[in-house]
Amino acid sequence: MIRRVFRALLVIIIIGVLCKACLVKDVQNPETHIKSSKNNLLATDYPTPTTVNINGIDYLQSQAPIGKFGGEIIFSTIGEGPKTFNPFNSKDNTSSTLSAIMYDGLLSTHPITGQPSPKLAKSYTISPDGKTYTFKLRKGIKWSDGKPITADDVVFTWRDIIFAGFGDTSLRDSIYIDGKLPTVRKIDNYTVEFKTAKPYAPFIRVLGASIAPKHIFMPAIKKGPKYFDSFLSTTTKPEDFVVSGAFKLKEYVPAQRVVYERNPNYYEINTNNESLPYLDKLIYLIVGDLNNEVLKFEAKEIDVITLQGSKVARYKSLEPHSDFDLYNLGPNTGTMYLSVNLNDRKNDKGKYYVDPIKQKWFQDLNFRTAIDYTIDRRNMVFNIANGIGAPLHTPESLNSIYLNKELKAFEKDTQKAKEYLYKSGFYTDKKGHLYDKDNNRVEFDLFTNAGNTEREAIGVMVKQDLEELGMKVNFKPIEFNSLVNKLVSTFDWDMVIMGLTGSPLEPNGGKNVWMSNGRLHMFNMRTPQEGKLNILSWEKELDEMFEKGALATKFEDRKKYYDRYQEIIYEQRPMIYIYSPVIIVAIRDKFKNIYPSSLGGITHNIEEIYIGE
């Protein structure tokens, strides 16, 4: 008997010890302590490179502290690696990132202000009517094989590759203005002029596209589009690449890594007039999934990692006695939202896409406002994003240079939400069930794509919040393809939780979502035959804002239009925004000249980064 009691005690003690071992010790809220690039580093610190002329060559001169040459930095890319190294053929993110390293464009984006900044171009001017763009190129800079980079290369790239429709045509498709492409012409060896049919502000962003060496690409273009599709693919020998970027391909090992070496002819120098980059090698390891990436970072096989929300607390506690620093780059460009189907039309069989009873609710602004006030964004950020996120109320992401800061955030307020519902004649019965004024129980479906755990978690919490109002929500995560089909072709859905990635620099990219005949105007999608049927007054205004926004050329004018568009969405609530995840990056502290920015990330100045003591 005693022995048995003793054994039982022993088991309990062991279990207790195990439980204790599993307890996570309290970690301070990581958000407050991580070096925030937003406040101290970002706005003031980054010394923008300037253009200097030395012996007739227009170098770009880095203004950052002088570093040491040599060494390597190892990044990772998730997935199966690049499909091509031809920047004009790349269709996926990995391929475009890895090929863009080698080919600079005329312009890039200033990592802090978000304005276009010169790269291969020395300077540019836009004519007062907003239709002519004149670029001055750098004199005397060279491709990696020693041939000069001139206006011919620029004209060739734009006229003979992009406008001619070689490779991936999505870039070309995005710059048709009233069905016409811009024109490009050479004025002299170092001057190029672009002309658009109408003023079209988003065009300047497109000019960041890579420039190709004419003497290498010309023969491929002559062999036709089919040959071009396999030109400079992953099987091309690294010696055959002629590049303008800071790094040049050295080795590609399928499913393992991509190795770049420094381009000795690169046109950026430091303040000692030594040519950059500092690093000898740039390596991308190809890893299959996030977990493996984390293991590789912990085993010091890679130097930089973007952390998932759930891992930040642990890394924060590791940071003081480790060899890496964490940086908070602020909210990213992803936006998570709840959309309501406002469709009031019938399909070709004469049936309503949305049940007419539900239509009445969804089209009622009070109903949508009530939902907006019931959703507990703070709670979701805390529970789903592990506190590594920011509540969102606007369609533009929080790091967008066009964000309308006048639109105030608000907290969950169930009482206020109920008042809005009562105003429209909704009432609750004794059991707390919500009915509309025609005595219909308020019940609808909420979809999201199954398999995305983040969206599924949001769905569950939205359902809980809405049930506080007495609504009955049938939350249905369905397969991604079926969901897309519902959204873009059958329109038979009530509410959906989705996410879109926008550009923090150019709201015009969202025109497909916001304009009433857009391809992704999900909340009130029209078929091409319907055109602009049953357009709502605020939809009309949205159309107008996007048209004007694209035509205006001054930032201040455009900002006005895009502010108004955000205001309309904020007031009309066809899509109710929930939160944006915050990006936290860890990088080994041996790397110096790190100037993290929300827009440029952590390695936007890769040529200036060096390995310190």
């Binding site: 190892i74 999505s170 498709d173 499913a255 390596i283 390891l285 397969e479 025109k511």
Partner: protein
């Protein structure tokens, strides 16, 4: 001559089999709800024209029968087609097959060199402590899921820093000399080989032991012993020859697993083999790549069985007599 005829017959028999396999796989992939264009359709910056063009390029605008016909014709002509991103399927496979073969053949070689002798010894020392310990160990080996074991070893590698975290070569592999390269490869191969070795060794050793025990219990072995033959001769001449027959059939299956058997372990260890390639292809419904890998698997299985049958004819006179 008889054998040759038999082989020819077998090869002819596989043709309808392969056609069936290809039809079933093709239709299953195409009828699955995975839409290769879903991502494009939901990207606000892609125009409808681009989506339409992609659809035509991938042949998705044609009925499924036509798609299959097109695929089959080019397959018969030896053209495996291109992946959804426009790369040659044959090229992609060529990049990966040597890596997978290196891993799997190493493992098969090791397991057979160790597993068969261990099986024989365990059978001859039946019910001794040696046999019991071996049985426990192999039970553990069979019970551990390869996926779990691989993850455990990876954690071990992270904590100790003794082994690289997956992959096959180090970033500076190209600059190493021959010896350095060899050591680097071995260093990367140790963990995945341990996982696969442990798991297949257990099965093989038990199979061999069971076969051997069966044979040792048979009348002719008893007779040989009664005849006064030395024990060595009884076991290695009389018993082993008969016990090894079922193993040859097993070898045929091992051959089939040469290209596909290590997929899960390859995935965990980020090994640059076929496993990762095909997994991604399936997820993206990259039809040509998936079909090529499925057909390859089917052919390997058929060829493996054929080889096993031929070997059996050679080793076992009883089959020769029957056929």
């Amino acid at each position: 001559m008889e054998t040759f005829k038999y082989i020819l017959k077998r090869i002819v028999q596989t043709i309808p089999l392969l056609i069936m396999v290809s039809i079933i796989s093709f239709f299953i992939i195409r009828l699955s709800p995975v839409d290769p264009l879903a991502e494009l359709k939901l990207n606000p910056s892609i125009s409808p024209e681009t989506v339409e063009r992609e659809k035509q390029r991938l042949g998705l605008d044609k009925p499924i029968i036509v798609q299959y016909g097109k695929w089959a014709i080019s397959f018969v002509q030896g053209d495996l087609g291109v992946t959804s991103t426009g790369e040659k399927v044959s090229q992609k496979l060529k990049e990966r097959i040597p890596n997978t073969l290196l891993l799997t053949s190493l493992v098969i070689l090791l397991t057979w060199l160790v597993g068969v002798p261990l099986g024989i010894i365990a059978a001859t020392k039946w019910k001794t402590n040696f046999d019991r310990i071996l049985t426990v160990l192999t039970s553990i080996g069979m019970a551990i899921p390869s996926f779990f074991f691989a993850v455990l070893l990876l954690m071990f590698a992270v904590k100790t820093g003794w082994f690289p975290i997956g992959g096959l070569t180090s970033p500076n592999f190209a600059e190493m000399n021959f010896l350095g390269k060899f050591i680097d490869l071995a260093h990367h191969l140790i963990l995945p080989v341990i996982v696969l070795f442990t798991i297949s060794l257990a099965g093989l050793q038990r199979q061999m032991r069971a076969n051997m025990l069966d044979v040792l219990d048979s009348d002719y072995v008893k007779f040989a012993r009664a005849k006064g033959l030395p024990e060595n001769l009884v076991i290695y001449k009389h018993a082993l020859r008969n016990a090894v027959n079922p193993m040859i059939t097993l070898l045929g299956f091992e051959f089939a697993g040469l290209l596909s058997g290590a997929a899960l372990t390859e995935y965990v260890f980020q090994y640059p083999g076929l496993g990762r390639l095909i997994l991604e292809a399936v997820l993206k419904s990259d039809i040509n790549l998936v079909m090529a890998s499925l057909m390859m698997g089917a052919v390997m299985l058929v060829v493996g069985n054929l080889i096993a049958d031929i070997l059996l004819i050679i080793t076992d006179p009883r089959i020769r007599v029957k056929s």
